[in-house]
């Protein structure tokens, strides 16, 4: 495995091991952070999360679709500083509707089976984040950027 593959593999492993990420949106320039349960596709092009439509975050997304999501493997211990990996995903969010909604939800629920009732509620939206870039931090300060070629 060369270094470019290794770095992508590390991202996949992180996304598989972590259930939650911190979503950043904004309203009129005021940043706002929320916790979301996410699922990432194998090709690393998309992340998905589910949110009730009456939330601040969903409201914010309607006016500006640009988002950042932070996912990290820290465990709230001192060892995190040299051991944890942290990734910031930058991309654009859209609500998934129509026929593609169901197959994505199935995959989402495989990762988060306990959220079954929540995601199937008509008041919830399935949101797709199309990744533009990944910023990956390891060994405390080592930062790599991955930019998606479209």
């Amino acid at each position: 495995m060369d270094k470019t593959q290794a770095i992508q593999q590390r991202l996949r492993e992180l996304f598989e091991s972590q259930n939650l990420g911190v979503l950043a949106t904004h309203r009129s320039g005021q940043p706002y952070a929320s916790l979301v349960a996410f699922y990432a596709t194998e090709d690393l092009k998309h992340l998905f999360f589910v949110t009730p439509k009456a939330t601040r975050k969903f409201e914010n997304l309607k006016t500006d679709a640009r988002v950042a999501i932070l996912v990290n493997s820290s465990t709230n211990q001192a060892v995190d500083f040299h051991r944890a990996v942290s990734v910031t995903i930058v991309g654009e969010a859209t609500e998934v509707v129509g026929s593609e909604r169901q197959p994505i939800l199935e995959r989402y629920l495989k990762k988060h089976p306990h959220l079954e009732d929540f995601v199937r509620s008509p008041s919830c939206a399935l949101v797709r984040v199309s990744a533009k870039s990944y910023f990956m931090v390891q060994n405390f300060q080592n930062v790599m950027e991955l930019h998606l070629n479209r």
Binding site: Q8, F81, H82, N142
Partner: protein, 732 residues
């Protein structure tokens, strides 16, 4: 939990907590051997200390900056030095210290003690850590004992120990350390005994010296040596030493003294005593179940066993590990002194002669076949000197490190590299050259006509006096397009030099080398004030050795560079011929032999960006922050100037960041133009870091892929405090 356990109270289940050495002493005591009064400080005390002081994660952060495998030995030494300094500067917290003090004071009162390492991993790993961690002999006073406990703890992280643990695959996160405190037995004769000769399973070996064992263990005092028959316990041979020195206890520590004449005439042991020593060791072997390496001493005719451990060097058919080499990185003072003699009188003249011999051959006159042979020959000669470099020059560099450790122990400075300032007092040739360059640039600054002529390329019309000065400079220092002074590939040409001078003249003069001569005197006084009497004399000698070692460290690279330049010249000649042959068409096969030899030597490889974009790849991967080692404090940003070849230096612009594989002394003339230095090769004592410190420039070293990932023109920020290089402007 009980951290402090007397040797007699240690039970089998404490084995992991007290380490191999501590546990072996317990067994000896319980089996009727006479051992010094001993207590063990279990590894729990170490754990408590690193947790309470926050050192646990600080150590891990230090060790995980980079993959240990990607670090050069010098970087690992730097890590070890920084970690050791953390231990020196963090006192044992109040209640831990209180507990230790109470027991140590009640057990040892005013007696001097030995503070020894006892690594629990030795047992788990079934590997010997002998010599990798520190032990301190003849320490007295409770504060000094506590300080030496910290030093023993710190020695868990020496460069040799880190390298060895990495080699045998032990996790650094689990490493821990127990300490053995023993009353000093001021023996009059001491030694070691191997119950089995590593070279002959039917024999045993005794080595013995007058005085304390330290001189024998660190190799400064030559021992008498006996080979004995294991079965009959009879002496087979006795090889007497030239008995000149002995190690004796002084107020704090030990000292090497000349041996009184009367003692030098007779061996430290008589025949009956060798039998007693060997007999005791065989008894230890009996109940430990494996051949033993036993340290012992005679005090007033009474034999005391200091420690016993399994012999790990017995030939078991397993591949040898490199512990021996790691240990050779640390040399005693006397050993370094004799190494200095060898280097100054034998090796450096040898390198100069080798380079001259090679330079005398006119490569263009050789046939293709002879050139191929010549390349192989040069490769071997270069290889030989590279080995010498590893075997003798690198260990000699320990003179700098030895001084650094003594300085840091005495001063406990905030900056563990403060001592370097004391070593650079010897003027480096490169600084003198840079001053001459600055004078020439100043001339151009003042003289507009001259500046104009030079800009138009009319050097020949310039003021004859200026021309003479330029030529003097070139004669003395080369024309700056030569990678190596006197390298045969150099064409004498003043153009690159003029280019650099014009660039310098376009900007105000650089502040120049730091004014620190006064500072050096203050540091020196501060350092020497920590010692009195004989120790002060020795401190002066350590400083002198450190300075020589520092200077040679610089010079050896130059001499090795000259030999390598001759190899490269032959390779270049071969490449040229291959190209010429190819341009003549497919029939010109004369160059085959040359192609084969170049392929053999694999001399075409160049570092490539491992993240470079491939067609159809999903991602474009770019580094943003690269982690290296902090080489010189400060922060600066500018455009990168990547130096792949020496000739690239001529394009260097004011304010650029010098990015290169390794700054060699022949490159440093651009440093006054640079805003920062980034180097692939790592270490605090490499030339780039030293010269950057000299000019007060931020410097980061030890970024393995620096020359592959950074391009000329990239905007980069160099954080020399933290050892971080940031590429780009941070747009999202």
């Amino acid at each position: 939990m009980n951290w402090i356990i007397s040797a007699e109270d240690i039970r089998h289940e404490d084995r992991q907590r007290v380490g191999g050495k501590g546990y072996a002493l317990t067994l000896l005591a319980k089996n009727g051997f006479q051992i010094p009064e001993t207590v063990c400080i279990s590894s729990d005390a170490y754990q408590e200390y690193v947790d309470r002081t926050g050192l646990r994660e600080r150590i891990q952060l230090e060790l995980h900056r980079k993959d240990l495998k990607e670090m050069r030995w010098e970087e690992i030494w730097d890590c070890a030095t920084r970690i050791r300094n953390m231990f020196l500067r963090k006192q044992i917290p109040g209640n831990i210290a209180k507990r230790l003090k109470a027991v140590i004071q009640s057990r040892f009162k005013d007696k001097s003690v030995a503070v020894r390492s006892s690594a629990p991993e030795e047992d788990t790993a079934k590997a010997s850590f002998a010599g990798l961690h520190e032990s301190y002999i003849n320490i007295s006073g409770i504060d000094a004992i506590l300080e030496h406990i910290r030093k023993v703890w710190a020695s868990l992280w020496t460069d040799a120990a880190l390298l060895y643990r990495q080699e045998i695959g032990l996790s650094v996160e689990k490493s821990t350390m127990a300490v053995v405190i023993q009353a000093i037995v001021p023996g009059d004769r001491s030694g070691v005994v191997f119950t089995q000769n590593p070279n002959d399973a039917y024999q045993g070996v005794i080595e013995s010296v007058y005085g304390l064992n330290q001189g024998l263990v660190d190799g400064t005092v030559e021992p008498d040596r006996w080979i004995l028959d294991r079965k009959t316990q009879r002496i087979i041979t006795h090889t007497p030493a030239t008995r000149r020195y002995w190690m004796v206890p002084i107020e704090q520590g030990v000292q090497l003294n000349p041996l009184p004449e009367s003692m030098s005439q007779r061996p430290p042991l008589n025949a009956q005593e060798t039998r007693e020593v060997f007999g005791q060791a065989l008894r230890a072997e009996d109940f430990f179940g494996t051949p033993q390496d036993v340290e012992w001493t005679y005090k007033d005719q009474s034999l005391v066993v200091l420690q016993s451990r399994p012999i790990t060097t017995l030939s078991t058919g397993k591949t040898e590990d490199n512990r021996g080499w790691y240990l050779s990185l640390h040399r005693s003072f006397d050993n370094l002194k004799s190494l200095r003699k060898k280097i100054e009188q034998e090796l450096i003249p040898g390198m100069i002669a080798a380079a001259e011999e090679l330079a005398a051959t006119d490569l263009s006159l050789l046939s293709d076949r002879s050139l191929a042979e010549e390349i192989k020959r040069r490769w071997e000669i270069n290889h030989h000197w590279v080995n010498v470099y590893w075997d003798d020059f690198i260990p000699f560099a320990h003179g700098v490190r030895l001084f650094g450790q003594i300085y840091n122990d005495a001063i406990q400075p905030e900056d563990p590299y403060e001592f370097v300032d004391l070593l650079t007092q010897t003027e480096m040739a490169s600084l003198e050259r840079n001053r001459m360059l600055e004078d020439l640039a100043n001339e151009i600054r003042k003289n507009h006509r001259l500046a104009e002529q030079l800009q138009k390329g009319l050097y020949a019309e310039a003021d004859p006096d200026f021309q003479t000065r330029v030529e003097t400079f070139i004669r003395q220092f080369g024309d700056l397009s030569c990678a190596v002074t006197g390298g045969s590939q150099c064409v004498q040409d003043s153009e690159p030099l003029i280019k650099i001078l014009l660039e310098m003249a376009n900007h105000p003069p650089a502040p120049g080398g730091r004014q620190k001569s006064a500072n050096v005197e203050i540091l020196k006084e501060k350092f020497l004030a920590c010692f009195a009497g004989d120790q002060r004399t020795q401190a002066v000698e350590y400083l002198d050795l450190g300075r020589t070692s520092y200077q040679l460290r610089d010079d050896d690279n130059i001499y090795l560079g000259r030999i390598e330049a001759q190899l490269l010249a032959a390779i270049r000649e071969a490449r040229q011929r291959i190209e010429n042959a190819q341009s003549k068409g497919p029939d010109a096969s004369t160059a085959n032999e040359l192609e084969a030899v170049l392929a053999d030597l694999d001399h075409s490889a160049e570092t490539l960006n491992p993240y470079r974009m491939k067609a159809g790849a999903t991602f474009d991967i770019k580094p943003r922050q690269l982690i290296g080692q902090p080489g010189g404090p400060g922060i600066a940003n500018g455009r990168a100037r990547l130096i792949r070849q020496h000739a690239d230096l001529a394009d260097f612009k004011h304010g650029e960041v010098l990015v290169c594989d390794a700054v060699d002394p022949n490159m440093t003339f651009v440093v006054p133009l640079a805003s920062a230095v980034v180097e692939r090769r790592g270490g605090m004592l490499i030339h780039g870091a030293i010269i950057a410190r000299e000019y007060g420039l931020p410097c980061v070293t030890g970024i393995p892929e620096a020359t592959a990932l950074i391009e000329t023109g990239d905007k980069i920020t160099v954080d020399g405090y933290l050892g971080i290089v940031t590429i780009g402007t941070g747009e999202i």
